[in-house]
Structures are given as C-alpha cells and as structure tokens.
C-alpha cells in the first residue's frame, strides 16, 4: 500500500451532526455518513445540549458501522482514526472523541486529534484534490457557519517529506457568527429554524437594494466582522413597521402547524418582507465577500477557500465568483455535502497530520473553545 492509499476513519460530533467517514489517500471518499439532529432540536427551536449528547451516544456506533459497511472496509483495515477534538459543544465532542480514542486503543491504530475548523479547510482541499486540482497556496480561507465566522491564511511547509499545514488567523467576528445572525433574523421574522436556507430561497423574490443596511464600522483589524449591528438594524426595521406584524404571526402559526420551508412561507410573505430578507442577505453577503477578498489581496493570496454551512448560500457563491475573477483570484467552494459538518473533512485533515508524523495519545482531550491559530 502506498502512502497515497492510507485509509482513515474520521469521526465528527462537535454539534448537531453525528458523522463518520472513510477516506482513502486523503482525497477519495469511500463513505460519508451524517446523522443530523436538526429534526430533534427543531421542536425546541434550538439545541438541547443534554439531548444532543444523548443523540450522539445513540448514533455513534451505528454511524461508524454504516461508514465501514458502505466503504467495504473493516476496522482492522484502517491506518488511523481521526477525531474532532474541538471547538464545539463539550458534551457532544466528548462522545465522538471518546469513541475514537477507545477504537484506536483497542485496534492498536494511530489516533489523530483534528480541529473542526481545520476540517473545514480540508473539505475544500479534499474536493479539489479529488477533481485533480492543486490549489495554489497560500490561500485565504473563510469559514462561515452558525458558530464560526473567521478568516485563516493557509500555508504549507515540508515536514518529514510531507506537507504540514499551518494556519494564521487573519480576522473573525467580534460578536455574532454570520449563521447566527441568519438564525436570529429568521426567529424575528418567523421563518423557522435553521434560518439560512429559507432566507436564501426567499431572498430571490425580494429587492436586495430596497433597504440600505450600512456596513459595520469596526475599529482595529480591518478583516474582522460584526453581524450584531445588522441583526439589531433588522429588529428596528421590524419595530418601525408594525404592518409587518400580522404576517409574522401568520407565519408563526403556520410553522407551529408544521408548514415550514420557503414555499409555504413565501405565500405568507408580502413584498415588504421579501425586500427586507433580500436586503439583509445582501448586506451580510457583501460584508463576507468584501472583507475576505480584501484580506486575500492584502496578504497576496491568489486562492480563496470558502467553507462551512453558510458556504452553501447561493448569493454568497454567486458574489464570490463574480468578484474574485476580476482580481485574478481563484475561488474554491465545496459542494453542499462537504460545506456542512461532515466527517470526510476530518479524515482528510487527519490524513495530512498522519503524513506529517503526528500521533495523539490517550491523554487527547476535547476542548469547547479550541483555537486553530
């Protein structure tokens, strides 16, 4: 077996998804199983941590078994086990990490601890490599999701004849993550949870120039983000326009009846609401794209990676592609399956660490606020 063909089991349980995947050679996905808890948490309108941990416990063994079966691989065939050790919900992280640790010990396989954010970087690399593309580094990587909005500069250096990745934090949110702002705006306007996909679909039907939400003023680091002000501006727009209230109540009732999703909610939304949604999305997306491309230009990166759940947003994708091309930058956006939380990206990040000679021991610990750089 060549080094290209290392078989890595990735395990991810940092938040709402229990996931396991088998990846060969860091780029060939043999299986990627994701058991989502969105339905379980939806009826509470949010995550119940105790329930999240219990669900991970219930799912972890069958999900790993399913990943092995789909890949046609037995646990004995593995070359290493890579687990997410943070950041995330501590109770959720502990389930995947403990299981991975015990599997590695019992099987006598190397254990590798992976930072969830590093996984998102490798989601982009994994897909590029599978397509036979080699993104030029350094790259500027925007990771944008419900929990994270951060820009890293990604570089490699040769270690033990392999590429070791290193990360420098260029900027990040000062307050809310972008996905969090989407969820909170969705709650104000009664659009259901999670808010991102519904807002994205409804925004297509509104005028994004109807309401001018200013760009946030941030002192200090020009590559930091702020979404709290935008969230509050939407709240004030709703308060100043009481005529929006009846439809908010109507949508709330529809959601409680189980009528959710963009089509059902669009029928209950006036043009004024659709304009508000489109204008909010435009402001959020312009901010994300603008600052990321400015950071890339400033640090001389010709390559831009976009990863995390919000990377699936259609306007974000469109604007990144439209604005990067004239700057001579190449943008890599992963497919939806790899944008959102998954374990293939953890296996791919683990593969790079395995090649660089890294091994974790039984003292490996989960950390809720684990920094990448």
């Amino acid at each position: 077996m060549t080094t290209q063909e290392h078989l890595i089991l990735g395990i991810e349980s940092s938040c709402d998804e229990t996931a396991a995947a088998i990846v060969a050679g860091g780029k060939r996905i043999l299986s990627s199983v994701v058991a989502s808890q969105v339905e379980i948490h939806r009826k509470y309108g949010g995550v119940v941590p105790e329930l999240a941990s219990r669900e991970h416990l219930r799912q972890i063994v069958p999900v790993v078994r399913e990943a092995c079966e789909q890949a046609g691989v037995s646990l004995r065939d593995l070359d290493a086990i890579a687990v997410t050790r943070g950041p995330g919900l501590i109770g959720a992280l502990l389930v995947g990490m403990t299981y991975g640790k015990v599997l590695a010990l019992a099987l006598g396989k190397p254990l590798i601890g992976v930072n969830h954010l590093e996984g998102h970087v490798h989601a982009v690399l994994l897909e590029a490599h599978a397509a036979g593309r080699r993104p030029a580094l350094p790259a500027m990587c925007l990771i944008v999701s419900g929990g994270h909005t951060v820009i890293y500069r990604v570089t490699t250096e040769a270690v033990n004849g392999a590429e070791a990745f290193s990360y420098a934090r260029i900027g990040g949110t000062r307050d809310d993550a972008a996905g969090e702002a989407y969820d909170k705006v969705a709650r104000m306007l009664a659009l259901g949870y999670p808010g991102g996909p519904v807002i994205d679909r409804l925004a297509e039907h509104g005028n994004p120039r109807a309401i001018r939400f200013g760009q946030p003023k941030i002192k200090g680091n020009p590559y930091d983000f702020s979404f709290s002000g935008l969230k509050t501006a939407v709240l004030y727009h709703v308060k100043r326009n009481p005529q929006l209230q009846p439809e908010i109540e109507a949508r709330q009732q529809a959601i409680e009846r189980g009528e959710r999703g963009a089509d059902a909610l669009r029928a209950l939304s006036t043009p004024a609401t659709l304009d508000l949604i489109a204008s909010f999305q435009r402001a959020a997306v312009e901010n994300l794209v603008g600052r990321t491309l400015e950071a890339a230009a400033h640090y001389g990166a010709r390559t831009v990676f976009v990863s995390g759940g919000v990377a699936a947003n259609s306007e974000l994708r469109r604007l990144f592609e439209a604005e990067a091309a004239p700057l001579g930058m190449e943008v890599y956006l992963p497919s939806r399956a790899l944008s959102t939380d998954n374990a293939a990206m953890i296996a791919a990040a683990g593969h790079a660490r395995l090649l660089a000679g890294e091994r974790a021991d039984a003292s490996l610990n989960a950390e809720a606020n684990l920094p990448l750089a």
Partner: protein, 149 residues
C-alpha cells in the same frame, strides 16, 4: 446600592459601563443578564470581561453556538448563553456543572430561560431598547457586590 438604572447612548458607552462593573467584581459571582435580541447583552459582557481583566473586548464574542466561552487571564470568567436552549432545564443538565465548582465570574445571557440555583452572590442586569442607540440598563444587586460604586 441594591438597585439602580443607567441609560447609555452608544455602543461605546455600554462597553464603558460594563467595564466599570467588571472592575468591581470579585469571584465567585453570578451575573444574570436578560433582555431582547440586540438589547446589548454581549456588548455589555465585552465591557464586563475586559473590566475584570480576563480578556480584551475584541476577544469576547457571542457564545450562542457553543453555549459557553471561558476567559481566563488572571480572573476566570465563564460567559454562558442560553439562547439556543429550547426547553426548561436546570443548569445541571446542560453540561455546565463544572462552571460552579470553582470560584469564577459567571455571566449568563438569556438567564430568564432557566431557574438557576446557587449560593453565590447574584447581580441581575436587565437591558432594554429605548431607541436605536439608546439602552436602559437596570441593575439589581441585593448582595451589594457593586457597592464600591
């Protein structure tokens, strides 16, 4: 001073008021924040944490997603956010038990969602929108934690 009211007229002023509160805190103390979306809970917390000397205000971000952030420079501060907690639970079921086993400053956003039981001194702070930049901050401090002011 058991209870008082402050009005702030800008983001910066809310941070400054938070700093003044943070400078007076001695662990263990529990700070319960309540108020609507966008009322300024995270902003005030930025000030409190930087005033307590545990982190800079830039380092303090919304803990909505991971539920708890820990700032640990000198004074230990836990910044907890119950926004995503959908159901009525008490703190023991949240995996946050450790937070109360050491002498720390614990700041809880959306504290109205839970009934918290503790022997620690408690300061209750309610934030309200008055207008776009103006916030009313009501502080209830029965134990006299902030009596230095």
């Amino acid at each position: 001073m058991p209870s008082r009211e402050i009005v702030t007229r800008s983001w910066e002023e809310t941070i400054q008021r938070g700093r003044e509160i943070g400078e007076q805190l001695k662990p263990p103390v529990l700070i319960l924040l309540s108020g609507d979306l966008g009322a300024g809970k995270t902003t005030l917390t930025k000030g409190i944490v930087s005033g307590a000397g545990a982190a800079t205000e830039e380092e303090v971000t919304s803990p909505t997603f991971t539920l708890v952030h820990k700032y640990d420079r000198g004074v230990r501060v836990y910044h907890v956010d119950l926004y995503r907690i959908g159901d009525l639970h008490d703190l023991e079921t949240l995996g946050l038990e450790d937070v109360f086993t050491e002498r720390a400053v614990v700041i809880v956003e959306w504290s109205e969602k839970l009934a918290l039981r503790t022997d620690w001194p408690v300061v209750r702070i309610h934030l309200e929108h008055v207008s776009e930049d103006v916030r009313r901050i009501s502080i209830d401090d029965p134990a006299g934690v902030l009596s230095a002011s």
